[in-house]
């Protein structure tokens, strides 16, 4: 259900740019905990940068169109201490991400959990984790 809703939102907000902000905001300012999503796509870029790392993912809609999403995760130090390295995710990797959509209906979301094809689950949550 949630993945269908995310794809629906993706389709609805197709016209808006999904470029992530560089500014550092709280979860509450950017994301809506009433809008959870689960989305599957192909990694185009993993940017392990301060203040928060971003996973860029291309998601294919049922009609074949592709939408580029960007998902904000925890800080690079938090990820590093959990064993992440900057080459942990590479372009072409298939991932499923769970999290919360942005309030402004851009193609961005707060990533809470990463599900890998081999069944591994990785917690990506930021320091503010409503989930």
């Amino acid at each position: 259900m949630t993945s269908k809703r995310a794809i629906l939102v993706a389709g609805m907000s197709f016209a808006l740019s999904g470029m992530p902000a560089l500014a550092h905001h709280s979860f509450a300012a950017e994301y809506d905990e009433a809008k959870p999503f689960k989305i599957t796509g192909i990694v185009t870029k993993f940017d392990m940068t301060n203040p928060h790392a971003w996973i860029h993912v291309d998601v294919k809609n049922p009609d074949g169109t592709v939408v580029s999403w960007a998902f904000e995760t925890a800080s690079p130090n938090t990820l590093f201490r959990r064993g992440f390295r900057k080459d942990f995710l590479k372009p072409g990797n298939m991932v499923t991400i769970e999290g919360y959509l942005a309030k402004d209906a851009s193609h961005t979301g707060n990533a809470q959990k990463l599900l890998l094809p081999d069944g591994k689950q990785v917690i990506l949550g930021t320091e503010v984790n409503p989930g």
Binding site: L16, M19, A21, A23, P76, N77, R85, K86, A105, S106
Partner: protein, 242 residues
């Protein structure tokens, strides 16, 4: 008689030698409790390096590779610090803001007024971190005689060396040298190496001046980027449409 001549000769020689020795003697920095050169104090560059780093480059030239110049022309044209990004190394050192050096046995701490940045650097050698980059990189320190040497890698490629859009790649490697060359001066040298951008390592050298006014202290210096692109910040994200 011979002894007298020798004594006169010795006095004359000493009188001739002493001023020469004094003139050539390197400045001996005061010591910290663990016997290291004392670099502590509030320091600041007073030159145009933050605006154009070639002002302090050896020979006045940055040895760009042609492909790097081409990349630079196609790259972003807004200074990353306009988005409140940290300035990177070596730029943080010559930003026109004071910074404080504090020392403890085994550590040197750099506190920058600019954006309350800091570097806490261990002087015990270790390997650089693997698999993570930072805006100010990963600094590993050692003492070479009276010089504090910082080896800095893991730098993000987005930073500029100055506000004149002198850029680098993710292969940037900076070796910084801090030497106290007078009671009020640290001579700062940095060797800048980046085989994806420059044809050879190149050097900058500039004095850092001690701020000796009584009571001078670092204060808050913040940068907040607005989402709406107004004020000094260019639009980075479109404002939500209502």
């Amino acid at each position: 008689m011979g002894t007298r001549y020798l004594a006169i000769a010795a006095v004359l020689t000493a009188g001739w030698l002493l001023p020469a020795v004094a003139q050539n003697a390197p400045y001996k920095a005061p010591r910290t409790s663990d016997g290291k050169p004392d670099l502590q104090g509030i320091w600041m560059a007073r030159n145009a390096a933050a605006f154009d780093v070639s002002e302090v480059a050896e020979g006045g030239v940055i040895p760009y590779l042609p492909e790097a110049l081409e990349r630079e022309q196609k790259g972003p044209r807004v200074d990353p610090i306009a988005h409140c990004a940290m300035p990177g190394v070596p730029r943080i050192t010559y930003m026109p803001f004071p910074f404080q050096i504090m020392q403890r046995p085994g550590y040197v701490v750099f506190l920058y007024e600019y954006l309350h940045d800091h570097r806490v650097v261990q002087t015990t050698p270790r390997e650089h971190l693997d698999g993570i980059d930072f805006w100010l990189g990963d600094s590993v320190a050692r003492w070479e005689g009276d010089t504090l040497v910082l080896d800095v890698t893991n730098l993000r490629q987005e930073t500029w060396l100055d506000s004149s859009r002198h850029t680098h790649s993710d292969a940037l490697h900076v070796v910084e040298r801090y030497t106290r060359t007078g009671p009020n001066t640290i001579t700062y040298e940095a060797t800048i190496e980046d085989p994806k951008t420059y044809s050879r390592p190149w050097k900058i050298r500039l004095p850092l001046h001690l701020i000796s006014e009584p009571g001078f202290e670092l204060r808050e210096q913040e940068c907040i980027e607005g989402d709406d692109g107004r004020a000094i910040h260019p639009p980075y994200r479109p404002a939500p449409k209502s």
